[in-house]
Subunit: 497 residues, 2 copies
C-alpha cells in the first residue's frame, strides 16, 4: 500500500471505529437498553458522534485526503475512495460545530413535541418546533455553495449527487400514471384479503420469516435479527449487520414482509467488498439505492406469483387452520390488494409513491418559502384528496403521522420512491440478461439474483453515486419506465384492467 | 459547582463515556455479536480503549487533577474524588503506550495458546507464552516506585491499597483452620446431594432465579439478564447494569446460585450514588469488595437455612417431581455439601479459599523468582495434595484450568478470598446492629439488608479503599475471625463436628 493511502487509512480507521461504535450503541438503545439507561446512552452517543466528527474534520485528515486526491488516478478504485472522502470532508467541514449542537438540541425537543402533538392531534403544539427545524434547514443550505435549487443541498445528504429537478421530473412522469392506475382500480371489485387477518401465532410467523431471510441469502454468521418498536437494519460494519422486526397483532403478515424488507437492506450491507471495509466507501451509496434493495426483495420478489408458487405450500402447511381453503392465487391476490389509505407505512405498492410525492412537494415548498408551516394541515388534506381521494379526519392521521420532519430529516422522503423505481429497473435488467429469472424465483433459487446484485451493486459500496451506478448496471440513468411497466402490468392483471 | 471541579468534570466525562461504550461493546461481544463480527469488535474495542486512555493521560487532565487536589479539602467528597483521580492518573501515566500495546498482543496470543493447551492437556505448549506474560508482569512492576514487595504493584490494580503482607497474613490465619475443617468433614458421612442433579427444565430454573433476583432488589428498569458462555456482570454506568447466566445440564442449580452471585455484583453497581455517576468514583472500590457483595448474596444469604425456609416451598412447588419427598432440611444440606474437588469454579464454600491460596502462593513465587514456569505443574499437584488431599490426573484439571494467567491477570485471585472474608464481616456487623436480621431473611425480606449495604457501602463507589471502607462499616479492618466463625459454625452443625 502506498504511503499516502496508508496515512489516510490509519487516520480514517479511528473515525470508522467511532461511527461503528455509535451505530452499535444506537442498536442497543432500540433493542436491549433498559429504560433507565436512556441518559447514559444519550451521553455516550453524543460523545462518540462528536469525537468521530472531530477526528474527521481535523486539518491532518484534510491534508491527507487532498494528498490522496492528487496522487491517485480518478478512474481507479483509489481515486474513487479519494473523491468520496473529499466530498464527505468538504461537507463535514462546512457546517460549524455550534450549528450541529443547536440542530441536535432542536430536533431532540422537536421530536418530543411531535410525539405529544401526534398523541393529542395538536398540530398547533408542534408548529413552533417545526418552524425552528425549518429555519435551521434553511440556514444549513447557506453553508454550501449556491445550488440550482436550495433543496438540492438537503437532498444531497440522503441521495448524493441527485438534483431537485431530477426528482421533480421523475415525479412528473409517475404522478399522473399512478393516480390514473388507482382510479381505475377503484372502479373494480375489491380484493378479499380477510385470510391475512386471521389469528396467527407470532412464533410461527417469525419462523417462516427467518426461513425466507435465510433463503434470500442473509448470512447469520455476520448478522442477527431482534425485535424493536420500529423495524430497522443497521450495519456495525459489513460483518455485523442487524435487522429487527415487530409483531402487530392486527397485521400478522407485516412481520414477514418487514423481514424481507430489512433483509434486502442487510444483503446490501453484507455484500460490501472486503477492501472497502473500514473505509469511507463502506455502506450503501445512497438511501434510494438502499431502498431499491429492500423493495426488490420485499415487493418485486416477495409479493410475486413466482415466489409464492414456491413458498405458499409451506406457508399453508405451517398455518393449516388459518389458510384452510385459501388457494395460492387467492393468497397472492390478498397480499397485493390495493386500497388508498391514510397512513404511508401501511400503504400498498400502487399507492405508496403518492404518499411520498405529497410529502416531497410540501417539503420543497417549505424550503422555497412557497408554503408556511401553519398551512401544512390544509395543504396535506387537499393533496390527499387529489392523489388518493381521501381526507384524513385528524392531523394525527395526516400531517403528524411521520417522524421525519420533527427529526430534521428533510430531503429523505423522495428516496423511498427512488428505491421503488430503481428496484424495477434492476429487475428488468436482470431479466434481460438472464432468461431463467422467473423460473429461478419460482424454484426458490435466489442465488443467481443475489450473486448478480453482489457483483453489480453491493460490492461497490459508496464508490459510485446512484445515477452512475444505475447506468453502469442497466445502461440507463434512473428511469421510471420499467417501474410503470411493472406496476401497470402487475395490477392490470390483478384487477382485470 | 466551582470552576476547578467543573473543568475536571467536563474533561473526565469524555473518558467515562468512552469507557462505558467499551464496556457495552464487550457485553455485546459476549452476548449478542454474530461470530463474523469478531474483528470489527476487536477493532472498535481497541480504538475506544486507546482513545479513553489518551484522553485520560493528556497533560490537560493532569493539570486539572492537580488543581483539584490543591483546591479541595482531603476529607471532603471533592477531596476523595481528587485523590482517586490522581491515583488513577499517576498509574495510567507511568505505563508507556508501547508496553500497553505489547501486553495486549501478548495476552491475546497467550489466551489462544492456553485454550489449545487446555484442550490438549499440553502445559508445554503454553509455558513459553506464560513466560512472556510473566516477563511483562515483572517489567510492569518496574514502572512504579519500589514497593514493600513487587507483587504489591500487581495486587494494587485489583485491590487498591492492599499489601502482599496483609494477604499473606490473612491466608496464614485461614489456611490451617480451613484445612483442619475439611479434614474433619472428611471423616463424616457424605451428604446426599442427588436431588440437585435431577432433570430440571432451564426455563423453570430461570424463572425461579429471576424471582429471587427481583426479591433481592435487582432494578430491572436499570438492568437486564442474558445468557453467555461464562456468567458475568457489567455496568455501562450505574443506570444500565447487565448480568448473564448459563445453563449447564449436569448442574441445574448453578444457574440459580450464579444468578444470585451476579445479582450481588449488580446491586453494588446499581447502588452507586447519583453524584458519583460519570466520575472516577463510579464503580466498585475493589474486586474484593465487589466479590464480597456477590458472595454475600450467593452464599451467606442464598445457601442459608433462613433463605430456604422462605423459598423452599415455592421451589418445591415449581419442581414438584424433581423434589418430591425431599424436605427443606435435606435440600439445605444438599446445597451445602462439602467435597474437595479439582476445579475451583465448582468448589464449595468450605474448600474454595484453598484453591485460591494455592494460586496466589504460586503467583507470588513466580513474581519473586522463587518458582519458575516449568515447575508449575508439579508445584500445583503438591499443593493440591497438601490442601485438599487430591492430585489432578491431568494439567487440564490442574494448572491449566483458569484463564487468568494467560490473560495477564496476576494479582486477581486473592480478591475472591478477600470477598468471602469481607462478606462474613459485613454479615456479622449487620446482625450486631439489627437483631431482626435472621427473621427478615427467613421472611424473604431483603430490604433492610440492601438499604444498609446501599448506605454503608454501595453509594460510596470508589471513595474509600477496601480496608478503610470495611473499618468504617464494621469498626475493624479486614479480619478473618467472622469468616472462620461463620464457616466453622455452619459446617460444624451440618456435619455434626
Amino acid at each position: 500500500m502506498d504511503t499516502v493511502l496508508a496515512r489516510f487509512t490509519s487516520l480514517f480507521q479511528q473515525v470508522a471505529d467511532l461511527r461503528r461504535a455509535a451505530e452499535l450503541i444506537e442498536w442497543d438503545e432500540r433493542v436491549c437498553m433498559p429504560s433507565g439507561g436512556a441518559s447514559t446512552h444519550g451521553e455516550m452517543q453524543a460523545t462518540l458522534r462528536r469525537l468521530a466528527h472531530e477526528a474527521f474534520i481535523r486539518d491532518e485528515m484534510g491534508t491527507s485526503i487532498h494528498a490522496l486526491v492528487r496522487s491517485s488516478d480518478p478512474g481507479s478504485s483509489e481515486g474513487r475512495l479519494a473523491a468520496v472522502a473529499l466530498r464527505d470532508y468538504d461537507k463535514a467541514t462546512r457546517v460549524p460545530p455550534s450549528f450541529v449542537a443547536e440542530h441536535a438540541e432542536t430536533v431532540s425537543a422537536s421530536q418530543h413535541a411531535w410525539e405529544q402533538a401526534r398523541a393529542r392531534n395538536d398540530f398547533g403544539g408542534f408548529a413552533p418546533h417545526l418552524q425552528k427545524v425549518l429555519d435551521l434547514k434553511r440556514q444549513y443550505v447557506t453553508f454550501f455553495p449556491p445550488a440550482d435549487h436550495p433543496y438540492d443541498v438537503l437532498l444531497d445528504d440522503c441521495e448524493p449527487g441527485m438534483k431537485t429537478a431530477e426528482v421533480k421530473q421523475l415525479f412528473g412522469v409517475l404522478r399522473p400514471r399512478q393516480v390514473a392506475l388507482i382510479k381505475a382500480i377503484g372502479t373494480r371489485p375489491p380484493i378479499d384479503d380477510r385470510p391475512l387477518s386471521g389469528s396467527y401465532a407470532e412464533a410461527d410467523m417469525l419462523g417462516f420469516a427467518v426461513d425466507v431471510a435465510s433463503k434470500f441469502g442473509f448470512d447469520w454468521s455476520r448478522g442477527r435479527q431482534d425485535k424493536s418498536v420500529h423495524p430497522f437494519a443497521t450495519g456495525i460494519g459489513s460483518d455485523d449487520v442487524r435487522i429487527t422486526t415487530r409483531w402487530v397483532e392486527r397485521m400478522p403478515f407485516s412481520l414477514l414482509f418487514g423481514t424481507m424488507h430489512e433483509t434486502g437492506h442487510a444483503l446490501y450491507e453484507q455484500g460490501i467488498g472486503k477492501a472497502l471495509h473500514r473505509t469511507p466507501l463502506e455502506g450503501g451509496t445512497s438511501l434510494g439505492v438502499h431502498e431499491s434493495q429492500s423493495r426488490l426483495w420485499e415487493n418485486v420478489i416477495g409479493r410475486s406469483r413466482g415466489f409464492w408458487r414456491h413458498f405458499y405450500p409451506s406457508l399453508q402447511t405451517r398455518f393449516a387452520t388459518q389458510l384452510a381453503g385459501v388457494d395460492g392465487d387467492q393468497f397472492y391476490r390478498a397480499i397485493n390488494k390495493v386500497a388508498p389509505s391514510l397512513v404511508r407505512v401501511e400503504a400498498d405498492e400502487a399507492t405508496y409513491n403518492l404518499h411520498i410525492m405529497l410529502r416531497v412537494e410540501l417539503e420543497i415548498a417549505l424550503i422555497e418559502g412557497q408554503a408556511s408551516v401553519k398551512d401544512l394541515p390544509a395543504l396535506w388534506k387537499d393533496r390527499m384528496q387529489e392523489y388518493l381521494g381521501l381526507v384524513p379526519p385528524t392531523d394525527t392521521l395526516g400531517v403528524l403521522q411521520d417522524v421525519h420532519w420533527s427529526a430534521g430529516l428533510f430531503g429523505y422522503f423522495s428516496t423511498y420512491t427512488l428505491g421503488n423505481v430503481i428496484a424495477a429497473q434492476l429487475w428488468q435488467r436482470f431479466g434481460a440478461i438472464n432468461a431463467d429469472r422467473d423460473a429461478q424465483i419460482a424454484a426458490g433459487d435466489f442465488t443467481p439474483l443475489l450473486s448478480w446484485l453482489r457483483t453489480e451493486l453491493h460490492q461497490h459500496g459508496r464508490a459510485y453515486q446512484a445515477q452512475d451506478l444505475v447506468e453502469r448496471v442497466t445502461g440507463r440513468r434512473i428511469d421510471p419506465t420499467p417501474y410503470l411497466h411493472y406496476l401497470e402490468t402487475k395490477y392490470g392483471e390483478l384487477y382485470g384492467l
